[in-house]
């Protein structure tokens, strides 16, 4: 019990029976953190705040929403028009979803750039990928709930993917739908799961934090903190830094909520769902666009004129593969050096990969015709080549620049870290 400066008898009494105060002290105050973390490291705690906002606004929206095909669209409009500050709740929740993905993508690319997935943080990374997958499922089902045109047709496209599975595909689709088409049972189960999944995310985030607090944060130099001179207590240093980050983040977030609340949305979703009228272009929410491009990238794979794998099945395999491959990254990249700062070749390819993801997103937003088909295929090929071929080759051939002796030597020894 090094912790308790707070010696109030009640605090002590509780702490001896349930050591919450010791725990908080240990994990949020004294918790040793590398002294050189830059602002890219703020996005983890920002993501945590967004998750809390999403759950709070979501619970309040659930009090007013009706999960029924005849009432869902109108109940959302009732929230927008008649519920006190209902428009604020809904716009916070809708834009919060987009913000969540922006923050998570930055968090993920930060991990890629600085090698945060490498030993001993493989499980920490893997838990992060699980959170990402859960987020995608939650966001997809949430987008169905307003029961607009994109809700309905997006759900149609995505659930139909499972029909590509050989033999049992169609049965799986009917099982997901709860019938022979997307209808009321589909909407109601998506609502139930959309309410459940955030709590699963919360649980995995907790594990993510446990794993983080075992191996501690990586840092821009990618070398381990060795002694007390390399670390500083989380509070007050990183609480102060993170709170400033929250301020900047909220300025951006609230800018969208109050001044461009439909910026990330599709106008078509303000048209009530109509199973008889297909919109000209069915597009998912922006954060799925790169994966949508990968889904549509491959043609039928033929051997001697016989279709071996249909384009649909190949697309589904690649789309799920594009995320699952992240689980294997810690072993595909076996270079001992973590940070791209000391990996000249890796750094170049990292940025090409980053651009590739943007290009795939752009392809996903456009109809799969002509030029976009070619670009989508090149982009998809590079995406997988990056993980399976390029990263292992770089790990093998690259000669990394010399690493600094220690964090404190690099930060304090006249040669200050660039971003610290």
């Amino acid at each position: 019990m090094s912790s308790s400066d707070n010696t109030h008898p009640l605090v002590k009494w509780i702490d001896e029976r349930l050591p919450v105060f010791t725990f908080l002290n240990h994990e949020l105050r004294d918790y040793p953190t590398p002294r050189n973390l830059n602002y890219w490291w703020s996005f983890g705690s920002i993501a945590g705040i967004v998750l809390v906002i999403m759950i709070l606004t979501g619970v309040m929206l659930a009090m007013q929403y009706t999960a029924h095909v005849d009432y869902a669209f109108d109940s959302v409009e009732r929230i927008m028009r008649d519920v006190n500050y209902g428009w604020l709740l809904r716009y916070l929740h809708v834009n919060g979803g987009s913000m969540f993905f922006i923050v998570i993508y930055i968090h993920l690319f930060r991990g890629l750039y600085f090698g945060s997935y490498k030993s001993p943080r493989e499980i920490l990374w893997g838990l992060g990928v699980i959170i990402f997958l859960l987020m995608m499922a939650t966001a997809f089902m949430g987008y169905v709930l307003p029961w607009g045109q994109m809700s309905f047709w997006g759900a149609t496209v995505i659930t139909n993917l499972f029909s590509a599975i050989p033999l049992v595909g169609d049965s799986i689709v009917s099982w997901l739908w709860g019938g022979y088409s997307i209808d009321n049972p589909t909407l109601q189960r998506f609502y139930a799961l959309h309410y459940l999944f955030p709590f699963l995310i919360f649980a995995v985030v907790f594990l993510h934090l446990v794993a983080l607090h075992v191996s501690k944060s990586n840092n821009p130099l990618g070398i381990e903190a060795e002694g007390p001179q390399d670390s500083i207590p989380f509070h007050p240093y990183y609480t102060a830094k993170d709170f400033f980050g929250f301020g900047v983040f909220f300025l951006v977030f609230m800018g969208f909520v109050f001044y461009a609340p439909d910026f990330f949305g599709e106008p078509d979703n303000y048209i009530p769902a109509n199973p008889l009228a297909t919109p000209p272009h069915i597009v998912p929410e922006w954060y799925f666009l790169p994966f949508y491009a990968i889904l549509r990238a491959v043609p039928d794979i033929e051997v001697f004129g016989y279709i071996l794998i249909t384009a649909k099945l190949a697309g589904v395999i690649l789309m799920f593969g594009s995320i699952l491959i992240l689980f294997f990254l810690p072993w595909l990249d076996f270079s001992k050096v973590r940070s791209a700062r000391f990996r000249p070749i890796f750094k170049q390819f990292f940025w090409i990969f980053f651009v590739d993801c943007l290009v795939l997103g752009w392809v996903g937003a456009n109809p799969p015709e002509g030029f976009f088909v070619v670009l989508g295929r090149i982009g998809t090929a590079f995406y997988f080549a990056y993980f399976i071929i390029i990263i292992p080759l770089i790990a093998y051939f690259e000669k990394p620049r010399p690493l600094p002796e220690s964090i404190s030597a690099a930060v304090l020894g006249g040669k200050k870290g660039e971003d610290s």
């Binding site: 400033f244 609230m254 909520v257 109050f258 303000y270 030029f371």
Partner: protein, 258 residues
């Protein structure tokens, strides 16, 4: 890191710009170019021009409402346009709604009340199609939010009627419209000069009516907009001050380390 980041972003932007030029002709063919106009409700201080809203309501009432509903609005919502309680009661009373069952278990017709939703012109989609050559006049409650670039698009559509440019023949029941995707629309030109006689004396040109009814429908789609932007200003100012203070705290705390 910064050097290469800038380089990559520059390259990306360049690449995207170049590629979008290649892709542009395909996109332009199906979506007509829509001209941007300035609206009273644009920008962070945007508000709905009350007089334009009232004129727009008059246009909706006398022209559009023959075919298009506004089912998400209630008559009492018209208070936001500056109408008093008695005006609103009078507007509502022009319509009949089915209510009941009464004590005898019978449904009955009564005059609409301010708390009733706008009465749609047709009882159901089938009736609407039957009366309109098979075409369905969409409800206008969310029209401005349900189209890309909604307000500008709506204005361009309402003022976009004319003869097909290359003297092309259109199928029966379809009309040429420069702003409509595909240029063939089932709605005949709804506005002619002096289609309404404005109570405030404004000359009722097609442009004027199109602009007024667009303002009215922009309000109908986002009735919360004025409150949203007013609250937003307070929130943003608060956050700016808070963030500045947090920046100062961060500097102070970290100065112990350097």
């Amino acid at each position: 890191m910064r050097g290469s980041l800038t380089l990559v972003l520059t390259l990306t932007c360049g690449l995207m710009a170049g590629l979008s030029l290649l892709a542009a002709p395909a996109a332009a063919a199906e979506m007509p170019e829509i001209e941007s106009r300035s609206w009273s409700f644009d920008g962070i201080f945007g508000h709905f021009d009350r007089a334009a809203q009232q004129r727009g309501y008059q246009v909706y009432n006398e022209v559009c409402s023959g075919c298009h509903g506004l089912r998400l609005l209630t008559y009492r919502n018209l208070a936001a346009l500056g109408y008093g309680e008695d005006d609103i009661k009078a507007f509502a009373a022009e319509y009949e709604v089915t209510d009941g069952p009464d004590d005898e278990g019978e449904m009955y017709q009564r005059e609409a009340l301010p708390s009733d939703h706008f009465v749609s012109p047709f009882a159901n989609t089938q009736a609407a199609r039957a009366a309109n050559n098979g075409a369905l006049p969409p409800d206008l409650s969310l029209m401005v939010k349900a189209r890309k670039n909604g307000a500008n698009y709506l204005y361009a559509l309402l003022t976009g009627y004319g003869d097909a440019p290359d003297g092309g023949e259109l199928p029966d029941g379809l009309y040429y419209n420069a702003a409509f995707p595909g240029h063939q629309i089932a709605m005949s030109a709804p506005l002619d000069d002096d289609a309404v006689e404005y109570t405030d004396g404004t000359p009722a040109t097609v442009d004027q009516m199109a602009s007024d009814v667009t303002t009215f429908l922009a309000w109908a789609a986002s009735p919360e907009m004025e409150e949203r932007k007013r609250l937003g200003l307070k929130v943003m100012l608060f956050l700016l001050v808070l963030t500045a203070l947090l920046a100062a705290v961060k500097r102070k705390v970290w100065s112990r380390l350097h």
